[in-house]
């Protein structure tokens, strides 16, 4: 087993250790119902995390994911529920805006961190315009889907597996995925071979936008209502999830399955801390400590690569 394997295994090991600790403290969590409760909020986080992964994969970073997912949740809880046509049109338009944002960042050579930070205020404002006070309701089919009683494994386990595997096939196995990762690895080489980096970047942002829309919809399906600030934490959670899952900030090195596992780990860390009866004042800090611990472990595995 080489370091590369260890590195890929690390997200799974951290999840397993955390899960074991949770089961030790609360054996009743070890059930269909318990697992569903532990992980169901991880579905939207996982979707936001793979969206962030699409952006990190091409050496950019997206600081607007949190407000954008909130915006999508607000649209889902209002328009999609009352006027589905307008609702889906708004969401489709938002995906196009995302793709356009990627194109502008490339053409104007703007730093993604600045553009997405600016856009985060735009989405936050739009969300408040659509839903000034918490409320709205989930479309019935969405509610049914998110709370379905599937045989053997709860939705909260099946959904992340589906997300992880399908993104793995898209990013790691498909020809388009190779090109997108190539943009992160050596943009010049892609350009020299005659591909349009502009188009590839727009595609990456567009797919990220689509995943964020799905994340917002899943969130409404679970929470049954929305709020303009419902997903603000997702920006940082998604970045942490990608990195926790073995991804890198630059160089196009990402792992979709790892990112999903990273998202699960972060969600579980929050539950773990509540089981510890830790005062909520300390929870954010303790969550950070878990993150630092895992990243420090990864640093040991990747030190060899840094010397190349």
């Amino acid at each position: 087993m080489n370091r590369e394997h260890l590195r890929a295994l690390l997200p799974f090991m951290s999840l397993a250790i955390l899960l074991a600790a949770v089961f030790y403290m609360q054996p009743r969590a070890m059930s269909y119902f318990g697992l569903n409760l532990l992980f169901n909020l991880a579905i939207p986080v996982a979707l936001a995390t793979v969206a962030q992964m699409m952006i990190l994969m091409i050496n950019d970073i997206d600081l607007s994911i949190g407000t954008f997912v909130s915006f999508c949740a607000c649209v889902t809880a209002t328009f999609v529920q009352s006027d589905p046509v307008i609702g889906y049109a708004i969401l489709a338009g938002a995906i196009l805006v995302y793709a356009g944002m990627g194109a502008i960042i490339h053409v104007r050579k703007l730093p993604a961190i600045v553009v997405t930070l600016g856009m985060s205020f735009f989405w936050a404002g739009m969300a408040i315009l659509i839903l000034p006070s918490p409320g709205g309701s989930a479309p019935d089919w969405l509610r049914t889907m998110m709370t379905a009683k599937t045989p053997f494994l709860p939705v909260a386990i099946i959904a992340p597996i589906i997300i992880g595997l399908s993104m793995h096939y898209f990013v790691k196995r498909s020809a388009l995925g190779v090109l997108l990762r190539g943009v992160g690895g050596n943009e010049q080489a892609i350009e020299r071979s005659g591909w349009s980096v502009l188009r590839l970047k727009a595609v990456a942002y567009g797919i990220a936008g689509l995943l964020c829309v799905l994340s917002g919809m899943a969130l409404v399906g679970l929470a049954t209502s929305a709020d303009a600030n419902i997903a603000l934490r997702y920006t940082l959670l998604s970045i942490a999830g990608v990195i926790l899952g073995g991804g890198e900030f630059t160089g196009g090195r990402v792992s979709p399955i790892g990112a999903v596992v990273g998202a699960l780990t972060l969600t579980l860390a929050a539950s773990f801390l509540s089981f510890l009866h830790l005062s909520s004042d300390w929870q954010i800090g303790a969550q950070g400590a878990i993150l630092i611990l895992v990243l420090a472990a990864r640093l040991i595995f990747t030190r060899r690569e840094a010397t190349i």
Partner: protein, 492 residues
Amino acid sequence: MIQNKKVIGTHEVPIITLAEVAVSFGAVKALSDVDFRIMPGECVGVVGHNGAGKSTFVNVINGRLSPTSGIVNYAGDNAQADFRNADRARTVGIRSVFQELSLCPNLTVLENLRIPYRNMPLKNWRKEAGQVVKKSLDEIFPGNGINPYSVVADLPIAERQMVEIAIAFSQRDIDARLVILDEPTSSLDGSIAEQLLSYIKRFCEEGGSIIFISHMLGEIFDVATRIVVMKDGRIIDDNLVSKFSRDTLVDAMGHVVPDTPEIQVAKKNRSFGEEVLRMENGLSARKGEIIGLAGLAGHGQAEVLAACTLARSSDWLASRNPQVVFVAGDRARDGLMPLWSIMRNLSLQTLVEFSRGFWINRIKEASLADRWHSKIGIKTDNLMNPILSLSGGNQQKVLFSRALASSAPIVVMDDPMRGVDVGTKMEVYRMIRSEAEKGRTFLWYSTETDEILECDRVFVFREGEIVSELTGDEITEDNLLRTSFAMQESIQ
């Protein structure tokens, strides 16, 4: 030969023809009056010193650069003023291996084939790509043992270069007909390079063509059927390999750059002080001496300069008695503070030397700037103007003043004359010489031969090592070329 019989693939039609091609970037002429054609089965070696226009030349051929004037013909059809030259080059089967590695390090070997192979069939592509790369690798480098499923970043540099070459020769929907290899053996060891050369010969026998750029003249003589010699953006000689010998080739590369008599006089009768610098690789310098670091660009000179500078300066504090100062060649990266005024840029190096205590001595700073303003002739009426208001040459003068104003006994210069006009160069040469006479030591890396000719002693670098040391009358363009290009392998 029958004129009308122009069918692709026959031996009568050149793969590419350049007629009176010129490329200029602004006022700089990178290429002029280039006439060139390559027939199937030919292997053309391209040689020339730094800045001779080799890379511009190959970039016109592979279509990445469109000529400013002149005509480029791909396998018969006319593509004048067509901005899609790169597509045409690809459809004719022209492929390139660039000097700097152009693989995506985060992808696997077989995934890297996907990038240049634009119309790859999507069905089951991984398996096929793996087979294609493996076949190509085995054909060129038998016994290589590279796994097409390994990630490129995990391969050693030599294997990465092998992969890149194998991908360039790999089988795709359009067959490779002309492959441009720019220093393909730079990271390969002898036996692997030998495998490549014999593959090139086989490839040409089967009707493929190669453009081969190398600083190893032995390799050129080994594989090339024709040699093109470039200098100053022109093709100055284009002949069958049998018409050249090593000596005539070196002569052709370096036509006369006569030393000005003034320098010759200045160079004579100079005596130097004690040795002030000696490095592990053999580089040494005496007080008052101008040391040249020569050789082809990127053969380790910049690294030696950096090592020399860093070893003699503190990471933490600027010294009041600095041992060494540095003049940057890449102004934007290493030299200028683009938002600062001319004065601030000029005084940066010497702030500590001329100030006492915590505060900057503004009066001394201004007088220092004024002194150098008149001494070196910076063309501005107000030193508070932003540095970017100056021309490139004048910006470089500011960087020179910054270094020369310091009391440091050693001045390290990293190709500082890049993009500087002749007038400024002459002024700076004179100033360097007079400073040297006052006892300063200069370490001068330059890619321009006439600058190296100004030096008292020259170390020629090749592949990161000093391959020869020239002094006095030995410093000639001839000798520089002879030592910059590897000669040791004999013709078989």
